[in-house]
């Protein structure tokens, strides 16, 4: 009896979480002849990838922009963005866990608070600074932004991880005459894989899914990341909504893939985001 209730509960939750996913998948597989609001809940009789092609390429005859270019923009944004923020986070975490100095606790506190600030409170100066340096409206400008505001969380992930490493390794190396960079390069860095995976997944999802920085910093459709382009696509009511669903799936695919393939690390990353993992 109790077992049955538990499974009924699980099933109810599964229905709640899967219903929107069902709508997304089922309707993205319909073409424009088949899509109708009345048939929203029915699966397609003739599943087709036509909507994905349309969402990717757009429809020049109606002036509808495809998301293909924006998908690649997001890729060009996420690769350097993840690389630099994870590398700097690792260096910071190393210093803040193994080489504490006067004021390092205060610095850590200031860094953590930087993780929680509403970005609205820095947006206007950010835009003006990027405009002044010629980075406004460009992907490098967006990369810089994500690297800077990703520092708090990546530093936190590496600091917590390095703090658990056995202390005698770096100490022995120091007696042998290794400097701060030598210890990092030869001892700490080779041990960093677990934290790096978590930080990479976290930053990848954050940057790929970001909308606020994208919409504020990139004004031209040709440089906008996919989230911004998807929102524009969905905002134009002329577009068939099967195409919107296909577009949404395209935008969701990379992070869903990471989540399915690396679920365990994905969850570790989520937990790291809650300060005390």
């Amino acid at each position: 009896m109790k077992r049955a209730l538990i499974y009924a509960g699980l099933l109810a939750l599964a229905v709640f979480y899967l219903t929107p996913i069902y709508v997304l998948v089922v309707n993205s597989l319909k073409d424009f002849r088949e899509v109708s609001l009345e048939a929203m809940w029915q699966p397609s009789d003739h599943p087709t990838l036509a909507s994905f092609v349309r969402a990717w390429q757009g429809a020049p005859e109606t002036g509808m922009r495809g998301l293909g270019q924006n998908f690649w923009n997001s890729v060009y944004l996420v690769v350097p963005g993840v690389f630099f923020s994870v590398f700097l986070g690792s260096l910071n975490g190393y210093v803040l866990s193994l080489w504490r100095f006067r004021g390092s606790e205060t610095l850590f506190f200031l860094l953590l608070f930087g993780m929680f600030i509403p970005y609205q409170s820095i947006l206007i100066p950010l835009v003006r600074t990027l405009q002044a340096t010629g980075l406004y409206g460009t992907i490098p400008g967006l990369v810089l932004t994500h690297v800077v505001y990703g520092l708090p969380i990546t530093t936190l992930i590496f600091r917590n991880y390095y703090a658990q490493l056995p202390k005698d390794l770096p100490e022995a190396a120091q007696i042998d005459g290794a400097g701060i960079l030598g210890i990092y390069r030869h001892i700490v860095l080779p041990l960093s894989a677990p934290a790096t995976v978590v930080a990479v997944i976290w930053q990848f999802t954050q940057i790929w899914n970001d909308f606020l920085f994208g919409v504020v910093i990139t004004n031209r459709p040709t440089v906008q990341p996919i989230t911004v382009a998807l929102n524009n696509l969905a905002g134009s009511f002329i577009v068939e909504w099967n195409v919107q669903m296909a577009g949404a799936l395209l935008a969701a695919l990379p992070t869903l893939l990471v989540y399915v393939l690396m679920g365990r690390y994905f969850i570790q990353g989520l937990l790291a985001g809650s300060v005390k993992g």
């Binding site: 930087g114 820095i122 206007i124």
Partner: protein
């Protein structure tokens, strides 16, 4: 240490970036919020004191926004905590295929708010979506106008937010549950405690730190919510600002109306609200760490 300045030198680039991009920019915004910078053609910025703030708090739209933020939080936070705890307890009760259930429950977490918004906008479209489903299931009385109905507005957005982030809370609770030593339950059983008593006296108290973390994280998301509102209700916050929130108001004021001083004032109010929530929590959590 041989060279005391070496660690400082290594962290200096990040520290400078933080100082400029976070604290410098906050100071810049705070200063802007006390000037007359309310159109693009202001020649010379002049201090106007707190005039922008006074006008802001008298602004009907901002009053609606603050009320909406509260309504959103009151649905979003308890919704995530309740579903999260329920799901975690179910998953922790030794069920078959735990991995499959967990994968399903946490999937929405991987999506962006924009994707969630696009799907839920169709789910909550008055003439189709859930309403259509309700009618076919004979539950027509459940049908409503969702985000197009000013009386519901922000509550519909909060529902989509619960869908997306309750899995996150579930992951937090699951980690918390797994950290409770089994012996505690065994001892309780020896003492003749019922399952309910063990839950109330062992599980709940030991999960308090998790609940606290979750409230802080969900609370600061509530205060900043932006993408989801834009994707569901549009960038003007729905009919009669019924789904509008401070972050959307800030965006429109600043980047569409070019009223930079007013936009700055909204963001400083947001920052202060978030600080009230986050600073005590950070101090508490760092102090915990020192004790460990």
């Amino acid at each position: 240490m041989r060279r005391k300045w070496a660690p400082v030198l290594l962290i200096l680039p990040s520290a400078v970036l933080l100082l400029v991009f976070v604290y410098g920019f906050i100071a810049w915004t705070a200063w802007l919020s006390t000037t007359n910078f309310n159109d693009l053609f202001v020649r010379e910025l002049k201090p106007v004191g707190l005039a922008n703030y006074l006008r802001l708090f008298e602004h009907p739209r901002f009053q609606i926004d603050l009320k909406n933020t509260l309504t959103f939080s009151l649905i979003f936070i308890p919704g995530c905590l309740g579903l999260g705890l329920a799901g975690a307890l179910l998953l922790n009760s030794g069920v078959r295929f735990e991995g499959v259930w967990r994968t399903v429950f946490l999937m929405p977490m991987a999506l962006s708010f924009i994707v969630t918004g696009v799907v839920w906008r169709w789910m909550m479209n008055p003439s189709t979506g859930l309403n259509l489903l309700f009618e076919r299931l004979g539950l027509g009385f459940l049908a409503n106008g969702w985000y197009t109905d000013p009386a519901i507005g922000i509550k519909a957005v909060a529902l989509a937010a619960v869908w997306q982030l309750s899995g996150y809370t579930m992951a937090l609770y699951l980690a918390g549950l797994r950290a409770i030593p089994r012996e505690l339950y065994e001892a309780a059983e020896v003492d003749g405690a019922s399952g309910w008593e063990a839950f109330r006296r062992i599980t709940l108290p030991l999960l308090t730190p998790v609940t606290l973390s979750a409230i802080i994280i969900l609370g600061h998301i509530s205060l900043k919510i932006f993408d989801l509102v834009v994707a569901i209700a549009g960038s003007n916050g729905g009919p009669g600002f019924s789904s509008d929130v401070p972050a959307v108001f800030m965006f429109q004021t600043t980047f569409q109306a070019n009223r930079f001083a007013d936009g700055s004032a909204i963001s400083i109010v947001l920052l202060i609200l978030v600080s009230f929530l986050v600073i005590p929590y950070l101090r508490w959590s760092l102090r915990q760490e020192v004790r460990e």
